[in-house]
Symmetry: D3
Subunit: 331 residues, 6 copies
């Protein structure tokens, strides 16, 4: 790990001597005709604007989004926002031993603990066909991708290991639903939970930024997952056809509605449980994160959040009501 202060802890006039990731890069010229390099540079915590006025030739020619640079300079404020006044900049080399993915946001949960929780459930699946299938799928490089990928580009669990964290939440919610309803086929439902978003490992790229791949845009993670699962089922002799169809149905229908890009709506009790568990996990994570990151200054409200179709509110019982509370205690 890099030993440098995180960007979101810095203030005006602080010194910068950092490795940072290029998130935007553009060569521009002023009205007077001189060129300068306009960039956005960031680490895993935030991203700042940085204009470079000299000594930028190498970076301008070779640098691209997703590359790491070594930057020296100062934090300054312009039009109410912090930016970096760059004194020197160069592209990082292999000698620097810094990887782009270091700069991506990550899950706060412990990775090994999440892997253990996941594997325990995989091993406990009592249907031998399903268990074989899961064992084949979640192994080797594919399992590593699964444990690395975010669950989304920006809305929920949009950080490294986010897909694993999100999947685990859904598994646990589904397990709880199986306690309420013995009629649910737990082996099938938990397998559906494990596999439902597997296609995200190919729908998104997440080496140096979270972007949709061509395949992700043209095929989508739902059909990608269905394809991956189908390929592995073919390798298992005697895999029951009905089981295959019902498992694929869980994957295809897990976004719950046609207009959310599921090509079929949930038609079994397991499918509706998976859809609603997914919604619950995704929405609460998304709202929590956006409330944390988008609160307006001196306010307990965020800006208007498009995907929630409202501004959001942080209820802070300590700050907001404790005083009232205390007062009333001594009335």
């Amino acid at each position: 790990m890099l030993n440098q202060p995180e960007l979101n802890t810095l203030s005006k006039n602080d010194r910068i001597d950092h490795y940072l990731l290029i998130r935007r890069i553009e060569l521009r010229s002023t009205r007077s005709g001189s060129d300068f390099l306009s960039t956005e540079l960031g680490d895993k915590t935030t991203t700042l604007n940085a204009n470079v006025w000299e000594g930028f030739t190498e970076v301008a020619v070779k640098g691209k989004v997703g590359d790491v640079v070594r930057v020296a300079g100062t934090v300054e404020e312009y039009q109410g926002s912090l930016q970096i006044r760059v004194s020197s900049i160069r592209l990082a080399t292999t000698a620097d031993e810094v990887k782009a993915n270091y700069f991506l946001p990550q899950s706060k949960r412990n990775l090994q603990e999440m892997k253990d929780e996941f594997n325990k459930r995989l091993k406990n699946n009592s249907n031998k066909y399903i268990k074989n299938l899961l064992t084949q799928i979640f192994s080797g490089e594919r399992f590593e991708l699964f444990c690395t990928a975010p669950a989304g580009k920006s809305w929920h669990h949009a950080y490294i290991h986010g897909l694993l964290e999100h999947t685990l939440e859904i598994i646990k919610i589904c397990e709880l639903m199986c306690e309420f309803h013995i009629e649910l086929n737990k082996d099938l439902l938990v397998a559906g939970a494990m596999l439902h978003d597997l296609g995200k490992i190919e729908e998104l790229s997440y080496n140096s930024a979270f972007e949709y791949t061509d395949k992700g845009k043209l095929i989508g993670h739902i059909v990608i997952a269905s394809n991956l699962v189908r390929d592995e089922i073919k390798k298992i002799p005697g895999f029951p056809v009905e089981l295959e169809i019902n498992l694929i149905h869980l994957i295809l229908s897990h976004q719950g509605k046609l207009e959310h890009a599921s090509p079929v709506v949930p038609k079994t009790a397991e499918a509706i449980a998976l859809y609603q568990a997914d919604e619950l996990s995704a929405k609460v994570n998304a709202y929590k994160n956006v409330i944390e990151s988008e609160l307006k200054a001196d306010s307990n409200w965020t800006r208007f959040i498009q995907l929630a179709d409202t501004d959001l509110h942080k209820f802070n019982i300590n700050s907001s009501s404790e005083e009232n509370t205390k007062k009333s205690l001594f009335d």
Copy 2:
């Protein structure tokens, strides 16, 4: 409890000697001019047609929907459905000691166990204002109504004790979400879960059938619950204003979308958690029940279900895929 076989266990030609609930009653005349009594009679398991051709004067004059009758006769089949051929019928009297609510469907869960689970959580609420509020609300006659009411007219948890069963499911789902997210205010969220559908005790009548009351239709359970909670908060000195507003917000927003009759959308992390937990509990219960009750004969598909906008499928791994499984094992 009545010692009579449940209606859904009877077949063609079985004898009837039952107390049953009138669910429809109409005096009709045949084309030839003679009158007869056309009714639907049922117990908690199902409802059958029954035409009465003689000896029906008392019932015709005094009987109405929701009354209990004593019926003798035989089960017969007409146009593919079972019906009752009545030999004698009379209205039940107080001497019969049979109450109409005996004939209503009930939760399969143990009532006392559910009450205990609910009260344990009420006692564990660590916010004294909330705890006082919940203690005031869930007491006496109101608590009995709460433990009796269904959670809906026909779609989900539409049976006696259904509101309590549904509420407990949501509480447990919310507790799980609080394990995932320490940022959620658990005291507030669990209180919201307990209170969110409280208005159903006045929105519905559930003595002899599940019907909307005038108040239920003109005001709705969301505002009824908000009113009940507001009345009790006023009795608690020093109840923090912010806490009140946030708790009422949970109740008002718990149906998640304006078009689902919530006058405000969820704007806090707790509100979105409550909405999605409610959806999860309701949908899975509804799908499970409708799949059980509406499967077509010799099929693993139901008729078209309006509220799901599809027909639904029962996946039975034992019957449907075991044979395939076995075959492939010995290939």
Copy 3:
């Protein structure tokens, strides 16, 4: 072919001595207690009600929807509709040499001509990968199924050979669009047209009636087609990845909108052309057919057609305006 008059040519009092297909079958009893067999029997042109009052034991016990029966009787009218008064009925046997699929409606176009038109285009595809793929897919039993299947259950091209007829129309429309726009990749677009509804061969069953299969309901023809194509692509060494993704994209997006069950919307010029060509072929066929079959008596309007969200009008310039025309000729 059977040598018997088609049902829709018969009138009141005509004699029946026909092989017909059972489309509904139910044992009922009259109010007086005697049993009778209530059925709907049809050929490829229409379906009539037929109640059988005696001699129906064998059919009642063994007959089911999709079976063929030999029926004698008379056409009569009841409440404004024709029905069959049955004098004798028996199940057809192998000795009768009558197949259920004879009774299904068929395309009016010549089958061989359609096959030739299709194969000519397949052979003319100038991309060797695509041509190999199409050759593999449209061969043997699968090609026969493709040439047999209807394109839908009831709305458009809902008759035997309908899928082939519909596919050919789309191909020709796409060819015309390629004349307008040289930028369109014709090889790709025509291949997409050929493959887009291929999944219908497994989504529907069409031996004795047009019904959705379990797989059809739980997976849907879009993903079924994508799977079939993907399996065959894997057998072709060096099939370009970009080409595969773009071809699969055509299949997945061909219903044009998420809410029409496409998991991705059209994102290429070829994809939008395929979607709109499909709409054009489907809608005109559907409207034409429903206007022919649903015109109200003595009217040039149909009943209200749900899928068109209106009643439909037949414009008959000969009957309606010729008189006016003639008059004006001699003014």
Copy 4:
């Protein structure tokens, strides 16, 4: 009242010596590093940009949105819009005797006249329960708030006294509907009209700007009004339950559709009349105002108006058609 020319009457090069309201305030620095104060300042007629380049320390440190400043300077034009070139600026003090609410837009109708019209109708209500209720509610400080509040943040009647003006319009429309339909309960309907938007007095703040309060966002004016009315009804012995439910129903349903945030849709003739009268009053006021304020220069069209989903047109029969008219007079 202040004796200073209204901002919307000033032109380029006019002198400014005004009290104005701060509507935006921000400390910025130029690229060369010097700080300046960027503000928007306005009176009740309009708002202008004003950058302050020196002598702004006090205002920068203590000033905030909603404060009044004393400004001297000149009107200048920049990029097609007027702005203020500030020569001096200071915060107003109590000695200046200028209140922030002076700068808010106001209804053009006479306040006392509106109050009289309102009270006359209140006194004429012939149902004594309703009259008592209205008398209790529209009294003291609450009546003053009611007469002060705007009816909205920006769309319709968004000015001081706007709620009263809007309410009066609806009352008169409802009275006219009662002339058409004697079946309508006029006492109930007019009471509903008076009370329907009462919650706006707490949903909005309107001292120095029109903003939603926390309570407004989390509870909404519909439930706030319902609560206020319910509290007052409780103080009236014998208030008929049916009357209460129907009156609350009018308030809850007055936005007409669930998706417009009414938790119940209109279910009585009075409720539909109130909803449609509200729409009529609101829409015409909104369109009239936006056409006045948003006409593009040298055009009889406004910019695109989001809430109308179109640009809007001003029909000016004098300017546009008089010439044609005159010509035709002398044809």
Copy 5:
């Protein structure tokens, strides 16, 4: 006027000796093979079923929907509904001097009074072009049609003179809006109100029943009205072009939304006023009528009303709350 009791005043066993309108007519045969005539017969107040078992040959052969018959018989009850037991029936002849339109429901308002109110406003229009136009349009046979036509097939003002009644209501509402807003062009707006539904005189037929014409279905009343107005404008020399466009805009946009079949949305203040006035007049009339006609027995609720998307409630303060009222008076 016919001197016969209105159908909705008759009870079981009352004698029938009436002229009635055929609203449905069908020749049927019983299972035993004998023919009978199944009809629905009505006057302006209601419609009853009537089966005719003998002496129906002439009516069966020549009678059709919209013809008048002379019927003798008795009122009887079958399955909870009244019907007519016919003893004799014959087609009315010209000698009977009974017109079909006598049997259509009519406005309760006085026709001459409505005509006078309308003409007064026409004469008061101060724009000479508009006044000329209105005078041309509302004259002769067209004015009689306008005064006769219903405003709709079944939802609002669906009775003879209903178009005039509806138009007058809108005019008065618009006049009130002009009192609120002097900016509105009253001459234009009132003309728009007068003309907006003029196309209904050709969209509907209303001689013996209210039905859509072919032209009504294929063109629609909006474009029909626009055409009628345009034809008359062409006859007026010098009619200002701007005025024509704005007046046609009022007609085209008066249904307010594209999805309500207006080809343009309201873009002027007058257009939005007309749309909202139309909504107000139509909805209140429709709700009032449906509440009167569809109340369920012993209930203050109607059946579910599709166009309102709810069941509707009749608030009867006298019956429902007076008792409570009285009690509280003597507390």
Copy 6:
């Protein structure tokens, strides 16, 4: 034609000595107080920014959008975009013999060829009423306007001659549909295709820019076309009424859905064919053009396209898959 290089062929530092069209013009002042002229100037291929710092008095005073100027200067780059550094500028005069419409984008198809194709079809119409009507309409100045107009403001066929090109495509698609379905009335359908967008000649202005006219906004091209056709039909004695209604129906319903501004939905087979043919022609043209013009640098994806609700992809089989192809050939 002008003998000057097209703007989209120029690069940084190229000399400008051009006639260009003013697409935006604004007098601004710098912060230091000096005035300059800010403009956008373009030819038929593209539009560039151009600020003029001196010698702009005449243009500033008299120039307006749609005027032609003679400009000398250099191409330079600012913030990643090309712009013009102007050394001199003057308004073109009649002596320059340059028309504004020269600068508008045009169809790539040959105009005379398109006219011939159109007229051939007009002459081949076998219904003499229709042929007369079409001959009257498509003649003289109106035919020239029809051959000049674009088919839209910016989305599809938005270039000079675009309406004719679009109309021809639809005609050919409709002819193909008539080959599939002999039931379609080809004379009627092709006439509908020719006339459907005729109203665009008055809905849009297209002399120097593509803008909606007042009439276009307030009436819309659908009703304008209907009016034009109706006026011409009136001149033809004996034109069959049914034919008129069905032809007008084609025009009114050609946008297919009420929410797309058609006042009636398609109700005949011809109407649905015309609507779907229009969709096909419009969408493919629009997607093709936007993919060509909006591809992001170094990408085969466009920016997000609002009207397609997605970003769009260019499939380039040559560049993207040829390498893979070649490799696999030598495996």
